[in-house]
Subunit: 337 residues, 2 copies
């Protein structure tokens, strides 16, 4: 089976499609909804407070140090649901496959998705597979769309940041972006640069369990990195944010790669760290929860929400200077996620 490839017939909805779905997907993904093979999954949801999020993944290369497009597709949507204060419950999966894709690569990706689903406590409830002729896509694109049940004790939104709140980053900035750049350029630094790609449902739940109403914003700094995500929050909440450059956790390898290639790690994507905005008195609680969790051991407070910096994100540099940290403006890294 290892050199079998996807053919156009796999996408026609006929016999070959049915075999692919049964061999490659249903043997790995098991959920009561999926086994029905109906046009939509039907299910009961326990509560009416729903979070709903979609993301398409086009990352290149499809396998990278620390993950692959399948793990990323599950973790990315799970995290988008989780940062809204919701427990992800089910996801849908839509594959667009290029004719000629190795079936063995598809199988690895499908397995990786199943593993990440178990880790995150979600199940795949419904799916779809399309095949396009060679050259009409690049190997494999995956859309995942998630439904989660919102906690009743918190209300999180990018528009809820309040002056005086602390800004915490739960992991080193830019690791996913740096890993993709290295993989793409076949760049070697002293140690391997691993993507931080992972589901953060547990860490997020732990933080919210411990600090409840003190947290008002959670967001994962994916495309455009910490800098761009802070700008989104600053704009949505109409507040200023001051970041202390020296306090931002950045791995030596990520810094080295950034320097070699001329990137700013604050603009490189994370896929396994989140920004948390919480009241000053909850900072130690949140950092304590993070340090006890394998996904949060490098967490640090990196800044403060201000009402005196005129709705901008400002970086206080190591030398005491201050500069505006604007949203990512031009070209940077296509197909990072």
């Amino acid at each position: 089976m290892s050199d079998e490839r996807i053919t156009i017939a796999h996408g026609h909805g006929g016999l070959a499609s049915h075999r692919l779905i049964s061999d490659a997907f249903l043997s790995v993904y098991t959920s009561p909804e999926l086994e029905q093979l109906d046009d939509a999954a039907v299910m009961r949801l326990p509560y009416e407070r729903i979070a709903f999020s979609t993301d398409s993944f086009v990352v290149q290369p499809i396998f990278f140090p620390g993950g692959d497009i399948g793990k990323l597709a599950v973790a990315g949507t799970v995290n988008d649901v989780s940062v809204m204060g919701a427990r992800p419950l089910v996801i849908s999966v839509g594959f667009i496959l290029e004719e000629g894709l190795l079936i063995s690569d598809l199988e690895k990706i499908v397995q990786s998705m199943a593993t990440e689903c178990r880790r995150a406590g979600v199940r795949i409830a419904t799916g779809d597979t399309k095949v396009v002729p060679k050259g009409a896509a690049d190997k494999i694109f995956i859309n995942t769309t998630g439904i989660g049940i919102r906690r009743k004790d918190v209300t999180l939104s990018g528009s809820n940041a309040k002056p005086g709140q602390a800004v915490i980053l739960t992991g080193p900035a830019g690791d996913h972006g740096a890993a993709i750049v290295c993989a793409r350029n076949d760049l070697k630094v002293s140690g391997e640069v691993l993507s931080d790609c992972r589901s953060l449902t547990d860490l997020i739940d732990d933080i919210l369990d411990a600090s409840g109403q003190s947290v008002s914003v959670m967001r994962d700094p994916t495309r455009g990195g910490v800098a761009t995500t802070l700008n989104e929050i600053s704009k949505a909440s109409a507040v200023g944010i001051e970041i202390d450059e020296e306090s931002v956790p950045i791995r030596d390898n990520t810094r080295a790669v950034s320097e070699i290639l001329g990137f700013d790690p604050l603009y490189l994507a994370n896929e396994g760290a989140i920004l948390v905005f919480c009241d000053e008195e909850a900072v130690d609680i949140v950092l304590g929860v993070c340090s006890a969790h394998p996904s949060g051991e490098h967490a640090a407070r990196i800044g403060t929400v201000r009402n005196d910096v005129d709705g901008k994100v400002v970086l206080r540099t190591a030398t005491g200077g201050r500069r505006i940290m604007d949203m990512l403006a031009g070209e940077m890294l296509p197909r990072i996620c």
Copy 2:
């Protein structure tokens, strides 16, 4: 604006992305959830009985007689949710755009989606946009994922067909497939061949209102057409199905195109007609509802569920012969939806 094109910067999550989202999407799609610009839409759903369906659309060409990829993406998912006996409520939209796509084409597609959403009574609650470099995709792919609230008075599933039930097709077979084939081959027949692409929520609701428990299966015969979908149902329900060839509604143009190009219209996709399995005594009611509805005026009873044809789909031909109508086996039409 008419010759502006998508650039890689539109996909980076930075300034250009934000402008695209605000100019091209938020000015057209209005929903309270979408305007939050958070990582997931949060909402209250009125009941706990949920239907959840996903579909990626890769149709080529992206504009075709009777519709475009945007209308198709909304109608396709709306119909998949509706045939489960659910009222579609919200959808997510995930765009994968190729660098160089005309912004004016994107705008047309976005408008077309908004129009179809209004027609179907759904709103777009959350979305995502990725841009890939030229050559890594073909113009535009769209994933839509829908959530619907299930009716309490029916339980529909492809596995619920029962011997003795009638099989009704609500519109002419193969119109979408025939329209795509004509558009792709620049083929002219006496009249234009229009795709039947449309949301059928209203028609489906009317049928279920009128005939309630008598209907046990509804499914839209998309890829692989009526023949393949009947095979899916036959397999899932472990029943045989006998189809009367002469009773299947087929437009003259679709028949002409099929004959010229060597297709069987029973294997060509519909995107605006469904198969309904109902008890014998409800046939006239269902056909009556269809004939009163603009989307169902060509509805016809095309066959019967049997327990004496050995789990197969059998076609009774005009000359009185009988042949097995198997699932679509090999190559046919890539990128039909």
